[in-house]
Symmetry: C2
């Protein structure tokens, strides 16, 4: 098993947590430096023509890509401990909470979007930060709206066990930190993120604990 990762990738962060929780240690961790542009090099393009992280090989067969698809694959092939509840309605809730992050909020702030803003639309830094902070806040508010209302919310996003929703929530909280968005208005999200990050499987997966990461974010 080879895992293609980069400290700054929040999608790779989600998959690192899943691997840690399930006790899976990839044979090789390959750093693809998204800041230097390693993802556009032929070596990685051959692995994933979409030039995106994360990517995972597992024995023979084509590369696994897209964080949600990888998490679902790990859940199906290494079911313990589970990252989804057993009941279809609970699974739907966990997947929908996850999608708030992976389909609504995070896609709007990824590097390729920030680059398009800078180089194609020629938007200045304050405009780019306004955009990013708006969607980070929007994702946090959407999560908070559901989590603070639903009786299914427990110690974690869904009851008292970690689910895929928590992996996504923690990556959203990390994006808030990266872009200096205050999470105080989202107390349920903040509480769950702190509870998760006190767990070793989450803490070890944190962006700032990865090879090549800066000691702090420098702002």
């Amino acid at each position: 098993m080879q895992f293609y990762s980069f400290w700054r990738s929040l999608a790779a962060f989600r998959v690192r947590i899943a691997l840690n929780i399930k006790g899976i240690v990839p044979d090789e961790m390959i750093t693809v430096d998204l800041i230097k542009g390693d993802q556009r090099e032929p070596a990685f393009r051959a692995v994933n023509p979409q030039m995106r992280l994360p990517a995972l090989t597992d024995g023979d067969g084509p590369i696994l890509f897209q964080s949600v698809a990888i998490m679902e694959y790990l859940e199906e092939t290494r079911p313990e401990p589970p990252l989804l509840p057993k009941d279809p309605r609970g699974r739907a809730r966990v997947r929908a909470l996850s999608a708030i992050v992976t389909s609504d909020s995070h896609p709007l702030i990824v590097p390729r979007v920030r680059n398009f803003f800078e180089h194609e639309l020629k938007l200045d830094e304050p405009t780019r930060m306004k955009w990013i902070r708006h969607w980070v806040n929007e994702g946090l508010a959407s999560l908070e709206g559901h989590l603070s209302r639903d009786k299914e919310t427990g110690k974690f996003s869904h009851g008292n066990n970690v689910t895929m929703a928590d992996l996504c929530l923690v990556s959203q909280a990390a994006s808030a930190r990266f872009f200096e968005v205050d999470t105080a208005p989202y107390p349920t999200v903040k509480r769950i993120a702190e509870t998760c990050l006190a767990i070793d499987a989450f803490a070890r997966a944190h962006p700032l604990k990865q090879p090549g990461a800066p000691q702090n974010l420098g702002h």
Copy 2:
């Protein structure tokens, strides 16, 4: 079962196809006019605080939301005919192809993003169209890159049976039509979209066949 839908919503389009394929007829189809802003009215906010389509009720219990979560729920509760293959690796491929649409491309062109461009960033129409067409093309190119390369591609995105990836691919092709993006450079996507739209379950679900839809797109 109550299904909250709108002709223009591409995420609702995906779920309409899934319902049709599985032969599920909701007791009620409720139109939420996203152009008029019905999604922000208290009646719908009580249903889905995230104010987004699609949303589905199924008996008692909380609302189902997020198109991928709804499709996975329908697959788990009404497994025939299946929208995912049986093998984990095939399922991962179908989910990853789906995510190219639902997590990479479509989130960048939804109305709330276009509204933010217009009202918050004060970007003009040509700039907004440049943005939209870039990401529609990007999604089509990503799909084409995988579909044209992978031996798993068949009559449909994954082999010779319809999967969730086709539902997402067809919604991507619809966004190309909405925003006048030529799909000729993406022949595999184009072929599969045409094959799908010849099937009644897809054709009946098409945005322009829904209540309130215009006779044509007017451009």
